[in-house]
Subunit: 181 residues, 2 copies
Amino acid sequence: MKEVPVGNNIDSAWTGPERVVLITSVDRLGKSNIITIGWVMRTNMDPPVLAIGLSKGSYSCANISRTGEFVMGIPGLDMAAAAIYCGTHSGAAVDKFKKAGLTAVAAKVVRPPLIEECLCNLECKVIATQEVHAHRVFFGEVVAHWSSEKQQRSLLLVGDESGYETVHAEAGFRLGAVANS
Amino acid sequence: MKEVPVGNNIDSAWTGPERVVLITSVDRLGKSNIITIGWVMRTNMDPPVLAIGLSKGSYSCANISRTGEFVMGIPGLDMAAAAIYCGTHSGAAVDKFKKAGLTAVAAKVVRPPLIEECLCNLECKVIATQEVHAHRVFFGEVVAHWSSEKQQRSLLLVGDESGYETVHAEAGFRLGAVANS
């Protein structure tokens, strides 16, 4: 084993695939936003709690910090272009639901909307937050769970090696799924 | 979309693949332990910070809570059986390095050892913790980074659908990789 410098890039260690999810939130006027993220993990089974990591400078981070609520939507393969769009634009300037062609549906418990096109939507209430340098991690307890009839493979951030099917590559991101062999 | 009950199982939403990592720690006597986990995410780029989620009842959780240090080893495909072993036994009772046939190598900055067989080892110092019901999340800043010459695909928790190569299935876990197509 050889030592390598510690830097802002541990990608050599952190090879794909990585899960991709869409997070909805609302601002102080009630306007909905969507952000695409890859930093997400489960942190408890019952009740289910999910952790998500967002840049502190993002509009979604400000929204969730203020309201304590978000919805996690799990996108299928057909949402790759929408996911890239929502991950590379700021909701401060645009209506991402409209621009990405996604449909907001009222949630049951929280104010941020579900995304109709997603395979699954998890309504979450923030039970804790943690500052990590330029990022904030929100721990969200799942308070309602919605499932779609859609049958699709989940969207992943993939590499360019064999075994993956790339469906959309843009802005340095390659989205796709594990290839059906 | 239809609502489904919120429960201890969001697996229908949280389909594979999931990253698998090995975490080393030391107890109060300096004895090393290894635990295999799937709850891990990046939470900052520079400096690199990783979050890991452990059951509060685990020996490793007690070790890391006491010392504030851990090493994250990223296993390759040939370590599937060792990963299952380390994830299904308690270090309170056995020497998991010995039982799993893994080699401890002294780290540079922290007391927990590197795992020689891993593709990569990241020495981490805990900068924050968060209680989440039955689990504790540790935020570890990477303070040293070691890379192996070994060329292998990373080990993943995989499903039984096509596109994956299963190399070891035991105790309800299926470990493998994205298949080379």
